[in-house]
Amino acid sequence: MSRPIATTRSAAGMPTPRLAVWWLIASEIVIFGGVLGSYIMHRLAHGIWADYAANTNPWIGAFNTFVLLSSSLSAVLAHQAAERGDGKRAANLLYLTTLGGAVFLCVKAFEWTTEISHGMTITANTFWSFYYTAAGIHAAHVIAGMIIMVIVAQTAKKNLELHRVEIIGIYWHFVDLVWIFLFPLLYIAK
């Protein structure tokens, strides 16, 4: 099945896939905006939440922030390699990025297990409900990004569809950026 001519046009001066991923991100921003906006309003109204938040471990959060930001670097390097037409290197860098996502999720799993075993479950109180919901929606995006990244890497390896490397990179940076908002809101603000 060949692509429609429509897909190859760019009357707005931007390739269609890139334009589409920006609109996708626009729609995601308001989803996370809804969660975080609700969280902030509650947080401002309940001083006691600072006590609950004191139970989160900012060092683990900081480590995860570092891991995610580093994975964004390899996503950029993958894009650079793809621009040069080096699909093999781009694919390897994408796998490295995926690995970063996997480390992030493992740390998260460890962190959550500890917290849950100490009674800080999603139903403990509304702070923890927001904590798990917001981070959970974010983690779902990390997982989706990793799956897509592996698919993109599979084709990029054969030097095909190299423009996709940039697209998944943009998405991955967005997922990082959401974490940059989550980290201070859930871990640092006491």
Partner: protein, 572 residues
């Protein structure tokens, strides 16, 4: 024959897109062609409209003749009543107005009107419909589960929606919110496709101001939807967790806040009105210019007012919550923004009337629908000003006045707008002309009962009739005999209106089978879709995509001597 035309086009398609004969499944069940996906949305939406209409009949029967058996339904129990009104609202908004006005017309018209061969992401388009269909099946299935379908109103306010011990629909509530969330995902995917297609895939020569108004409107509506639905999607996840995991986001006993849901819901819910309004307004613009043979008066004005409406629509949501305990000072702010938003809409209506002024008007079926849209929507808009004023709304809240008001907005949008567009583009969609006499009969038998349903309800609402009362015999001091007469009038009118739809479906089926074959451009219209064959093949213009030389509304142009229209693709 329509069938043979389609076969011929399938052959074209094969030349155009990849040399193989398509099976029935590929062509009709899992299509990639934007026109076929549009038809899937259209007919799913119409099917859901019949269900939603039937629900309305069942609960209107209970309101007018409480305690008697509704033919074809039986005794309406209080639980039935609640789930019928809830799902009537949900279905009409999410599974009728959205799929038909945005998804069906958007899918059909955007590529054809901007001169492209398809949407930019055909597979995403197909996925969007499949998710939508899944959501429709879930909402329908919820009627057959333990406890029945959700009955906490289409706004799903907690705690009724989150606590099974209140709603008594443990599974129905979860299925409702799941179906709604999936439906949103479907339209987010569809919206990205619409916006990207209109931005990037326009025919060579088609500049910003050469885009037909309906395309602009669907794109603006998609952007509005995209930017407003996110918080509600987040709220939907929270509600699912409240229902099933035992969190307390919306439970004040355990630190949550039920008003939060109302904010999340209406932050989407109010822009949603404009999400469905704008495509209908766009459809009307296409029709009145063609049948008045005049240029659209103030193209850019319409566009800017649409954008202005869109921006303002994000600032009015709390007018739904005047009695929910919000700060009265906030109520003042939202009163002002609500009254302000009527300005751009009124301006748009004036522009349309100015377009009609001095035109040579043909009262064809689509034109009748388009004119009635302007007339009926005006009533909806003006009564909205009553309700936007918080002082008045405190008395009017949840009465039949509110109900009549929003039916005077949504009915013109979802039903009149759809019939206008459907009868206008029917020749293009199916390659046949519709029967105009039957079309007009259907028009009058729909529009007169519509008014006799809802005009009485304004009176009842102003007299204090409350819209959520299952059986007014329990409140004899609040209802007088004349009120019963008006309720019965509304219900009889509804039955007449529903029966009149048989004429429409008869007309569609007979015209599709044996109507006169439609030429390429039966209405002498300018826009690009009329330069393709009727119906267009897969790929739309196998002989080569068109180029655009002028705006879409050059009717009765002084420089054009040969005819009173000037197609967009004709070189000067």
């Amino acid at each position: 024959m329509a069938e043979s035309i389609r076969v011929e086009h399938a052959a074209h398609h094969d030349d155009h897109h990849g040399h193989h004969e398509m099976s029935f499944l590929e062509k009709y069940v899992f299509p990639l062609d934007h026109k076929m996906i549009a038809m899937q949305y259209m007919f799913t939406g119409m099917f859901m409209a019949l269900i939603g209409g039937f629900f309305a009949y069942a609960f209107r029967w209970q309101i007018a003749f409480p305690g008697t058996e509704a033919p074809f339904w039986g005794q309406v129990s209080p639980a039935d009543y609640n789930s019928l009104v809830t799902n009537h609202g949900s279905i009409m908004i999410f599974w009728v107005a959205m799929p038909v006005l945005i998804a069906a017309f958007g899918n059909y018209l955007i590529p054809l009107m901007i001169g492209a061969d398809d949407m930019v992401f055909p597979k995403l388009n197909r996925l969007s419909y499949q998710i939508f269909l899944l959501s429709a099946l879930i909402i329908l299935a919820s009627f057959f589960v333990e406890g029945g379908a959700f009955g906490g109103a289409w706004t799903a306010y907690p705690p009724l929606s989150t606590k099974a011990e209140y709603s008594l629909t443990p599974l129905g509530s979860t299925m409702w919110i799941t179906a709604v969330a999936l439906e949103f995902v479907a339209f987010l995917l569809g919206g990205i496709n619409f916006i990207t297609t209109a931005m990037n895939s326009r025919a060579p020569g088609m500049k910003m101001w050469d885009i037909p108004m309906v395309v602009w409107m669907i794109v603006i509506a998609s952007i509005l939807f995209m930017l407003s639905v996110g918080p509600l999607l987040a709220g939907g996840i929270m509600m699912l967790f409240d229902q099933n995991l035992g969190t307390a986001f919306f439970d004040p006993d355990r630190g949550g806040d039920p008003i939060l849901w109302q904010h999340l819901f209406w932050f989407f819910g109010h822009p949603e009105v404009y999400v469905v309004l704008l495509p209908a307004v766009g459809i009307v613009a296409e029709i009145i210019t063609v049948f008045a043979r005049k240029k659209l008066f103030g193209y850019k004005t319409v566009l800017y007012t649409a954008i202005g409406t869109g921006v303002l629509s994000f600032t009015v949501w709390a007018h739904h919550q005047f009695i929910a305990g919000i700060d009265p000072r906030m109520a003042n702010v939202f009163t002002v923004t609500t009254l302000l938003i009527s300005v751009p809409i009124a301006e748009m209506m004036f522009v349309y009337i100015a377009t009609l002024y001095g035109g040579s008007i043909t009262l064809s079926t689509p034109m009748l629908w388009a004119l009635s849209f302007i007339f009926e929507f005006l009533i909806g808009g003006i009564t909205g000003i009553f309700l936007g004023a918080s002082g008045n709304d405190i008395y009017m809240h949840d009465t039949y006045f509110v109900l009549a008001h929003f039916h005077y907005t949504f009915y013109p949008i979802a039903i009149i707008g759809t019939y206008a567009g459907f009868t206008f583009w029917f020749p293009k969609m199916f390659g046949r002309m519709m029967n105009d006499k039957l079309g007009k009969l259907h028009f009058w038998l729909t529009i007169i009962p519509f008014n006799t349903i809802f005009l009485p309800l304004f009176v009842l609402g102003a007299a204090g009739h409350h819209r959520r009362i299952f059986d007014y015999r329990n409140f004899p001091e609040l209802s007088y005999p004349w009120m019963w007469d008006l309720q019965a009038l509304a219900t009889y009118s509804l039955i007449v209106m529903l029966l009149a739809q048989v004429i429409f479906f008869y007309n569609v089926i007979t015209s599709w089978i044996s109507g006169p074959v439609a030429p390429k451009n039966p209405w002498n219209s300018n826009t690009l879709e009329w330069t393709a064959t009727s119906p267009p093949p897969h790929g739309n213009w196998p002989e080569g995509l068109p180029t655009v030389y002028r705006g879409p509304y050059e009717y009765s142009h002084p420089d054009r001597k040969s005819s009173d229209y000037w197609p967009q693709n004709e070189p000067a």
